[in-house]
């Protein structure tokens, strides 16, 4: 079920013919879906869940350093969103992106190796948790500066529009990001120039500890596009089918109509802001609520009740997901660290004379 905020004045009538369920007034029903598809979504969600649990474990074992933000609780949103994208579509995200990277098609091995800072990592060990990037799968980056991805994603959409391409850009962000200037500047530019981009706000109600109510004067975030006459849609981020349908609708409309959209997915962050945050500021009820809204368990129950997820299939999926995550961690563990001799390899793409390649103790003028 999706709420929409139509732009005043400039709204085009939306054609719904031929599109998937997204315009129906009821939530999508699993009875309308292929069991195989549903099981595939379930497996993807479980993979992200187990991957992130393993990530947290590796972090506490000091295998992973830096900041580390997990997608626990956002599995349905991620799988729904990534299902809506075509392979040729581009993705930009914030730093909470391990699941998105996997969802966009990067192998869990390369993602885990990146977390471990190994040269086999998707960003060669240069990026870490916050900076997964892969031109192959068109995951054009996790970004650690809040809002940093928005102008970039807008620019990617500009490049598509400039060349008359038919790709779409999806730009993910958190709720807190809707308060930074880059959000407003980017939405305005995207709307003004009719760019094929879907901005997605994953609303988990909090920045780090600050709530949406305390930080956004318009807390119904999907409405924030209306200043730019941009259509906004809110969807239940715990429902993978609803997210898929809403996102597919907007992605395909962005492609066909060459204009931007704003999608808000209501989601729950199950743990603290990052692995090291005990989330003491959360009340017991809030923690309970997040737990009760566990999207993986909810979907699992739904599929079980529908008789699609039998005990046997469940075990099979659990085993294969466990193996895949173990394999990713083993791969990361056994991969080499980048050589110190590569330290200056990526400062400039075009070599120039007099570039500094000085190590900290080196004199400016070598003898």
């Amino acid at each position: 079920m999706a709420d929409t905020a139509k732009p005043k004045g400039g709204g085009t009538a939306r054609s719904t013919g031929g599109r998937r369920r997204s315009r129906k007034d009821t939530a999508p029903n699993i009875a309308d879906e292929q069991p195989k598809t549903l099981l595939d979504y379930y497996r993807q969600m479980l993979l992200i869940r187990r991957f992130e649990e393993r990530t947290a474990q590796a972090y506490t074992q000091a295998r992973i350093g830096g900041y580390c933000h997990l997608n626990l609780g956002e599995e349905a949103t991620i799988v729904g969103l990534m299902t809506a994208l075509q392979e040729r579509d581009y993705l930009f995200t914030n730093y909470r992106e391990h699941g998105y990277a996997i969802g966009k098609g990067i192998s869990p091995r390369s993602v885990m190796a990146e977390l471990y800072g190994r040269s086999t990592g998707v960003s060669k060990g240069w990026g870490g948790s916050m900076h997964m990037f892969d031109t192959q799968t068109r995951m054009l980056g996790g970004y650690g500066i809040v809002g940093g991805q928005l102008p970039l994603a807008t620019g990617a959409a500009l490049a598509i529009s400039y060349r008359g391409g038919d790709e779409v850009v999806m730009c993910q962000m958190g709720d807190g990001t809707t308060n930074i200037g880059a959000f407003h500047e980017s939405l305005n530019i995207a709307a003004l120039w009719n760019l094929p981009i879907v901005f997605v706000v994953v609303n988990n109600f909090t920045g780090m500890g600050t709530t949406v109510e305390k930080s956004s004067a318009e807390p119904e975030l999907y409405k924030r596009g209306s200043s730019y006459r941009m259509e906004g849609v809110r969807v239940d981020g715990q429902d993978v089918l609803a997210v898929r349908d809403a996102a597919t609708d907007l992605v395909e409309r962005a492609r066909a109509e060459q204009k931007p959209f704003l999608l808000e997915a209501i989601s729950y962050r199950m743990k603290g802001h990052s692995v090291v945050d005990p989330a003491k500021y959360r009340t017991a009820e809030q923690a309970e609520e997040a737990k009760a809204n566990d999207p993986v368990l909810a979907f699992e129950r739904q599929l079980e009740e529908a008789g699609i997820l039998t005990e046997e299939i469940k075990q099979e999926i659990a085993d294969s997901v466990r193996d895949e995550v173990t394999d990713a961690a083993d791969f990361a563990e056994n991969s080499p660290h980048p050589e110190v001799s590569t330290l200056f390899d990526y400062t400039y793409a075009t070599p120039v004379p007099n570039e500094s390649r000085r190590m900290p103790a080196d004199p400016v003028f070598a003898e």
Partner: protein, 332 residues
């Protein structure tokens, strides 16, 4: 005397200054309910309430600018920017506005505010979160830039910053928050802004640092003392104004110098120090001034690369010894 952490010294001082002056208030991201990303403001929301401890949206340009505006009307905001990297979002308000208002309007209104923000590296935070860009602010007339290295300095310099009538960028460091040091009980001392300090006397060589690098310089001096090398340590404390006299006086005595800095070498803070030394102590220099700084790359995440790129006790020690051997003195 009590032994407290750098973090505690900052927190105690903020709290005392808020009690002392009703115009002092805090704003920044996650400083209230979350109690600060690095817990400097722990408990302060509870004690002072939302009027004086304000959680802001993630909007650095907006809330830093709002603090400037509030300061123009006589309040004394103390802004926390989570790390100095995020100050880049607010740099227009800081440089084009906070630093300009006093001069541009002929001295009619001052901007009595403090921007507290930590630098630091070595925590595998990657390219955008590991920068030490205090230089950008140290470059700007109209701003004052402080960089304390010990808990006692943090307290007396924060007091000075809050009571000063100009915008002060107060540089903290992720690597210093947990360090401990003695602070006199009931200390009310207010540092003089614009003064460096000789924190360890020595005769063979001058080693200059600020913030975390001043601490590391002390460790290098300690280590070299065991080898019979007498290192004089100068803690810059204030990056703008810069106390050139203290630096030059020390180098005139020792005849050689090394600068340890956490930023990049080319055009970095050390470049200004080295230029000042050659101008003020040219006839006294027995060797070129060496600078130990970060390798000039976007900082990689991978631990071995990061470690190699950062100045360390070892790299500073090497530079000190090489400088001494250039002078022709014993190297222990």
């Amino acid at each position: 005397m009590s032994v407290i952490t750098y973090r505690q010294a900052l927190r105690d001082t903020l709290r005392a200054e808020m009690h002392r002056d009703e115009n002092v208030f805090l704003l920044g991201e996650e400083i209230g309910v979350f109690e600060g990303s690095y817990k400097i403001t722990e408990g302060l929301l509870k004690e002072f309430g939302e009027r004086r401890v304000r959680d802001t949206p993630i909007a650095e340009e907006g809330f830093v600018g709002a603090a400037i505006g509030a300061a123009m009307l006589g309040l004394r905001p103390v802004v926390e920017i989570m790390t100095i990297n995020f100050s880049l979002i607010a740099i227009d308000q800081i440089i084009n506005h906070a630093a300009k208002i006093y001069g541009m309007f002929g001295g009619q209104t001052s901007v009595p505010m403090v921007i507290r923000t930590p630098g630091g590296g070595g925590q595998q935070l990657g390219a955008t979160h590991s920068q030490n860009i205090e230089l950008f602010y140290s470059f700007i007339p109209g701003l004052k830039v402080l960089a304390p290295s010990t808990p006692a300095e943090a307290a007396s310099m924060l007091r000075a910053a809050i009571r000063d009538d100009d915008p002060v960028l107060f540089l903290e460091n992720l690597g210093l928050y947990n360090t401990k040091g003695e602070v006199p009980d009931g200390d009310e001392s207010v540092a003089e802004i614009g003064r460096a300090a000789v924190t360890r006397e020595g005769t063979d060589i001058t080693l200059i640092g600020y913030s975390r690098m001043a601490m590391v310089a002390g460790q290098v001096a300690e280590k070299l003392a065991a080898e019979g090398i007498s290192v004089e340590v100068v803690d810059l404390r204030s990056l703008r104004p810069l106390d050139r006299d203290t630096i030059v006086e020390s180098v005139r005595k020792t005849g050689c110098a090394v600068v340890a800095e956490d930023d990049w070498l080319t055009y970095g803070i050390g470049a200004e120090i080295a230029a000042s030394i050659q101008e003020g102590a040219f006839d006294y220099l027995d060797a070129p001034v060496r600078r130990v700084a970060m390798a000039e790359v976007p900082m990689p995440y991978a631990k071995p690369l990061e470690t190699a790129a950062l100045p360390s006790i070892d790299s500073i020690t090497t530079a000190v010894k090489e400088t001494l051997s250039a002078v022709g003195r014993r190297v222990g």
